[in-house]
């Protein structure tokens, strides 16, 4: 099933650099249609009789899926030439659909955030091959933002105040902000947010959350650092951050369980090759990243620890060597 988009931590990243700005209303409309677009494929110089199975990539569309389809065509053409393999590609409008596609093996490759990856790993055996680099960094932070004129200068001041998270399944918009308060000794777990705050909300998106602070709907919000860029210059002067999270691994490229190692390695090398050389401009079609770095499951160890601590993943069992996916029943639920 392709769920419609939620806004969980999808909007912290630079837009995928399409030639035109896409509007949320269109995204919303398309999302309501449970959109998953199967796109046309390219086949450059690959003999039909010797062609291996197509590699199927699901791209997450932060804005207009149809535009994304156009934007990634050069990337797909590049990959087909590099991989000597047909590439089929899809767009999905939320991470649930991406994870679902990897689990159902209707896609081989997907793009997602760290918490989504961990869920995909835990429940579908997916594994990461590359992390994205933005502004020269492969990590980012979650921040607690308040209005500059609020008088709030530390986390303790937020006791009894209204607070906005972004989405229940979000690294920078829930998991890490929670941990900021846990580390400060103000709460012990996510169940205590109701007691610490007067009221806490899920704003539905980074922009909604930072604007809720700006407009005084809430006293503070926990959001990815780049949400600040969603404000106009004169608005930024009205908002400050009072706390930072631990570094969060950037979004990643994930392959499904069972994708042959050679295919994953070829894909990894092909995308890494974009970091330099004549094909580097293609990165602007891949969410406008600065480049990629190799990652593996261990890269997300910190996030995994938090996810287990806060109940997004089950506590580790005594026999951790057991294959995670084997614990799933046919519906994907843990046995």
């Amino acid at each position: 099933m392709i769920a419609r988009t939620t806004v969980s931590e999808r909007s912290w990243r630079p837009l995928g650099s399409g030639p035109s700005r896409r509007s949320r209303w269109l995204r919303s409309t398309l999302s309501n249609m449970g959109l998953l677009i199967l796109c046309t494929t390219f086949l450059w110089g690959i003999p039909a009789d010797a062609a291996p199975e197509p590699l199927r990539i699901v791209f997450i569309a932060y804005q207009n899926p149809n535009q994304l389809v156009e934007d990634v065509r050069p990337v797909v053409a590049y990959l087909e030439e590099r991989l000597q393999r047909k590439v089929e590609y899809f767009t999905a409008t939320d991470y649930a659909a991406v994870v679902e596609a990897l689990r159902n093996e209707t896609a081989d490759v997907g793009f997602m955030g760290p918490l989504q990856y961990l869920l995909a790993h835990e429940h579908a055996g997916a594994r990461p091959i590359l992390g994205e680099i933005y502004n020269g960094s492969s990590t980012y932070h979650s921040r607690i933002f308040v209005r500059k004129d609020s008088g709030i200068r530390n986390l303790k001041d937020l006791k009894g105040k209204n607070f906005a998270f972004v989405d229940p399944i979000s690294s920078s918009g829930y998991l890490y902000p929670l941990e900021i308060f846990v580390e400060a000794g103000l709460i012990e777990n996510r169940d205590q947010t109701d007691r610490f705050f007067r009221r806490n909300y899920f704003a539905g998106g980074d922009e909604q959350a930072i604007r809720a602070v700006l407009n005084g709907f809430v006293d503070a919000a926990g959001i990815g650092q780049y949400s600040f860029s969603l404000l106009r210059g004169e608005e930024r002067d009205q908002v400050i951050s009072i706390a930072d999270s631990k570094p969060i691994p950037s979004h990643c490229v994930v392959v499904r369980k069972g994708l042959e190692g050679a295919a994953a390695n070829s894909l990894r090398d092909s995308l890494l090759a974009l970091n330099e050389g004549e094909n580097r401009p293609l990165l602007k079609y891949l969410y406008n990243v600065d480049g990629y770095v190799e990652v593996d499951h261990q890269t997300f160890a910190g996030t995994e620890e938090l996810a287990r601590k806060h109940g997004f993943l089950p506590a580790l069992e005594p026999s951790p060597s057991e294959e995670p996916a084997s614990k799933l029943d046919s519906s994907g639920q843990r046995k």
Partner: protein, 668 residues
Amino acid sequence: MPLSQHKLDPVTKQSPRSSRGGLGALLISALLVSVLVLLDLPLNAHIVPPEDLHPAAESYRRLNFLLNLRPVPWLEVGRDLKVIDGALAQVVEQKGKVTGLTVPEVNGLDLDSETAWLLEPQESQQAEGREVPGIREQQLLAQRTFEIATRKVSRALVLELETAAASISDHSTALGHLETARQLWAAFEPTLRSTDRAGFQEAGRHWLEMTSALGSPGILGIGATPPKQQEFEHNARRLGEYLNANFGASFQAPSGTLAPLPAHSPTFDRDAALPAILPPGAEINKQLPRPRQILNMSERGVDERQTPLIALGDMAFDSPMIFGEPARALGLSCNSCHNKSITNPKFFLPGLSSREGGLDVSNSFFAPHANNGHFDPVDIPDLRGLRFTAPYGRNGRFESLREFTRNVIVNEFNGAEPDPVLLDGLVAYMMEFDFLPNPALRPDGRLHTGASESTRRGEEIFYRPFEQMADRSCATCHVPSDHFLDRKRHDIGSVVGAAESSRDGAMDTPTLLSSRHTAPYFHDGSLPTLRSVTDWFNERYDLGLSEVDLGDLTAYLEVIGDGVDPYEDTLHTLESELEEFDFFLSAYEFLASRGKSDLIDTTLVTIAFEIRAHKWDVQDARLLPVLDRLAELMDEAYEANHQGESEMVADRIAEYRRLYQENVEVLR
């Protein structure tokens, strides 16, 4: 180390890495990213992206702006009204599908025949032999139209909330309707934020409550939370009550400026000022790539610190403070339309522009007192070589640049009567604007040797008298030895819609120098290319020029209109802006010696305003405090100037100069 050789350690073992800020996501900066990426330019140009709005909210906001204009651009109003109609129809249909019930019709949403007729194209109006109503009658029709549009958007919003509530068990569907409702809310947001702060905040919390009450399906069921229907319905109902009370069937448009005022809200502030906002579709960003400005003094190697009057003029040219409201609040200055003297080909204001790079400067929005009552946009002229191109104005209505400039400030942009020294400064600065150097031309305007055969043939045609033009040639008016103009006004038949028997068809002869970079052409910008200009003359005067002739003539125009390095190889960078502010400040001692306290105020406020407008372009966010301090020093100097503490003013300015010089190498 190449990026490809990086191997990440687990982040728990990494020390945090500072981010330089930069661009994140995003919806609001999407256009900026798109444009700059396409141009392969770095992301530090000062470009303000437009708001991302639902089509109906966008149309409503624009329609609100258009209905306040006199005359009302009814055709454009009609287009926006159709968008709102379409959105409402879609919402009604969606609600019918979700609930299985027919959505009842409500009263007060239909245009009367008089208004509906106005929204028709002019041809059909003329065919019916009806006259466009007078200004007073239009005002009443505009009020009625605004009431209907407001009720429609409000109704669509309330229906969307009801549909979301009705579909709450289907998270995907409910969220879609809630998002649409919230996007429609943006239609009213700017006005509510200003006029009903408490109501606006309460509404903001309703939105948060509803989003939270929707719950979440999680991912693969993980993190799923069930919806809270009662909470959702409670908040949807409260918001709906606010909308129905204020913008429902009983909504009446204010008698003055049209705006969605929540008159029935107990917290409505009747005295609150309406925000100055431009309508969606407005484009006031500077053009890219950045055009090259040529100042005569700079070409001569003059130390610009020795030219305080020019520095004052440069400041005034960049300053919204010399204008009145609403231009000032919108941050518009001379520089908005004539960026560093060069025409801004993208400038566009719905209802006030007929095409990009044009504006009706005698309108009811910027200076109602000087509205001429009809829509007559002109192409924004390029100001290169301004000292040679009198008279001024597209119809050459001002012989004096000084008088023209005063009129722009006072009667086009509602400014106070300018200080004579300020006008001196503006004129001195604008007199420095030079044409692009063109090595293809001799001082007498003839082509240098080495020109192509085609260009030479074009030059011959340019000089050829045509009987159809009363034995005049192109060169008769565009005199090559005199900057390709004759300083006269001629009616060449290019003005459409001029009053019969009036002399409205006469326009000032424009120079052709640098014209290759000033498209579009003619007083109203109606011709997009130089070739379209030669075609126009050939057809209008039946000159009988062949394709080859027209190609040659166009080639000639392209050569004489060309120039060396028309664009900068840098963007509108912070360092160039700061350098300019330093130049502005160099007028301080001159102004102090003349006792021009008001002009010192203008200078200080302008610099502080400009620093704050550009500070987010800084590439190293750690330098933001330096920029904040620079702006604060200008604030402090301004306050001291008001208190008459001249020593304090001088001290703060000296501190500004010192701080700037200390950081000049890193502020980029």
